[in-house]
């Protein structure tokens, strides 16, 4: 794609970046869920621990 003005360039690059970030914001919670949904509760950190 060719650009003739800074306005064109910024519109394209910023526009794509915004779309990407919106996509990432939607994807991150889903990815976090994928990572953690099978997790079993582990030792809690505020419980007395043998060795701190």
């Amino acid at each position: 794609m060719e650009f003739f003005t800074l306005q064109d360039f910024m519109t394209f690059t910023k526009g794509t970046a915004y779309l990407l970030i919106i996509g990432a914001l939607l994807a991150f919670p889903a990815f976090w869920r994928f990572l953690t949904e099978r997790e079993t509760p582990s030792v809690r950190d505020d419980e007395p621990h043998e060795h701190h």
Partner: protein
């Protein structure tokens, strides 16, 4: 005055029970001898006798590998101690000492390697004494590395003081843990990102796909991935070769460490991937992706960022520790590849092949020598001091 354990170490060194001639020791011995020869050549005949460095490429393998990779892979120290002492994730406590030791040795060897690379190494302290350019990024890197090495040294002393039986000194240092951890995080944030910022001075030399005003962000975020992955990678090696040195707690907690750090590494990698893609779009570099360098960039981004990110995620979800440990190895290679791309492969990309830099055999020898020194010192310290196990006298101690 000196504890029993320290005395038994001295005795075992003087009268070893087992033969020292194992394949590992022989290979290390050969590399150490070659390294000694390279050291002699470097400090008698100068840099030109042992390196292929030129004015086009004044930073070569020693900076690209020993310094950039060394600092990134030593990030496990601040990542682990921050997760344990600042975020309160005490279930990762058993990973702190090996991580701090790896970090301390990593930074100590970075400074050691700098003595080879800097033309006049006795001027290394000059930035703090005679220069006046405190606005230089390199000044900030130098200052942070010097301070952080000191912090790591203090953080590393408790196991040595326990080994020596110096209880009072050990308890004093343990009281400083939180302050030292906070210092460590601040200093690491500063210099990990500044190492990337060093390359901002060379927009015409570094290929556009790797050059970005976000370089400091890339270096900092990738250092977190490097730190997490290195702790898992080093842990899996310790598990394999130093299993007998680990106590019950360490063995039990290692599963938690691998699952927790794998999860963190996967999520941070996903963020790193997104920031890298945003970087491409902000500079509108899409057109370069279909060139030779572009394909190489895609190998790095898809093969060594996105793939390990997904492998970590599947490993954590399936609780597949073996997969997570293997992924840690892949991620470590990815970090090394990234630092090589920025400092060596995509640097001076516009020069004809005949003017491009390729390290000399002696440069490889010195780098291998430094890695071997690190491995041997790590093995010695973790064999003789309470790194992978808790000292019986301090089992109940809180630190």
């Amino acid at each position: 005055m000196i504890s029993e354990s320290a005395l038994s170490t001295i005795k075992s060194l003087l009268k070893p029970d087992k033969t020292w001639l194992t394949p590992f020791n022989i290979v290390c011995g050969v590399i150490l001898v070659l390294g000694a020869i390279a050291t002699l050549l470097r400090f008698t005949f100068g840099l030109s006798a042992v390196t292929n460095l030129t004015d086009y490429q004044p930073w070569g393998l020693w900076i690209g590998f020993d310094l950039l990779c060394g600092v990134a892979l030593a990030a496990g120290g601040y990542v682990t101690s921050a997760s344990c002492y600042i975020f309160g994730l005490k279930r990762y406590h058993s990973a702190v000492r090996p991580a701090i030791l790896t970090a301390f040795l990593g930074y100590a060897l970075v400074v050691f390697a700098l003595h080879y690379d800097v033309g006049r190494p006795w001027r290394l302290p000059y930035p703090f004494i005679v220069q006046s350019g405190t606005t230089s990024v390199l000044f900030e890197v130098g200052g942070c590395v010097a301070l952080y090495l000191t912090v790591l040294f203090i953080e590393f002393t408790p196991p040595v003081l326990e080994w020596l039986g110096l209880k009072k000194a050990r308890n004093l240092v343990v009281k400083l843990t939180l302050v030292l951890t906070i210092f460590g995080v601040i200093l690491s944030t500063l210099h990990q990102s500044s190492l990337g910022a060093l390359f901002l001075i060379a927009p015409s030399k570094l290929h556009p796909l790797w050059y970005s005003t976000y370089l400091p962000v890339y270096f900092f975020v990738s250092s977190i991935i490097a730190g997490l992955s290195m702790v898992m990678f080093e842990g899996s090696l310790s598990h394999k070769y130093m299993h007998d040195k680990m106590d019950k707690t360490h063995l039990e907690e290692s599963e938690n460490v691998v699952l927790g750090f794998g999860k963190a590494a996967s999520f941070v990698m996903a963020g790193y991937f997104v920031v890298k893609v945003v970087g491409i779009t902000m500079d509108n570099n899409w057109k370069y992706l279909f060139t030779g360098y572009g394909l190489w960039y895609l190998v790095e981004l898809l093969g060594f960022v996105l793939t390990p990110c997904l492998m970590y995620a599947v490993g954590v979800r399936e609780r597949n520790l073996n997969l997570i440990r293997k992924t840690a190895g892949l991620a470590v290679i990815g970090i090394v590849l990234n630092r090589f791309n920025i400092s060596l492969i995509a640097f001076n990309y516009h020069l004809p092949l005949s003017d491009r830099y390729f390290p000399s055999i002696w440069e490889f020898v010195v780098s291998a020598f430094i890695v071997v020194v690190g491995l041997l010192v790590f093995r010695f310290i973790s064999t003789h001091t309470p790194i992978l196990y808790e000292h019986p006298e301090y089992k109940e101690a809180h630190h």
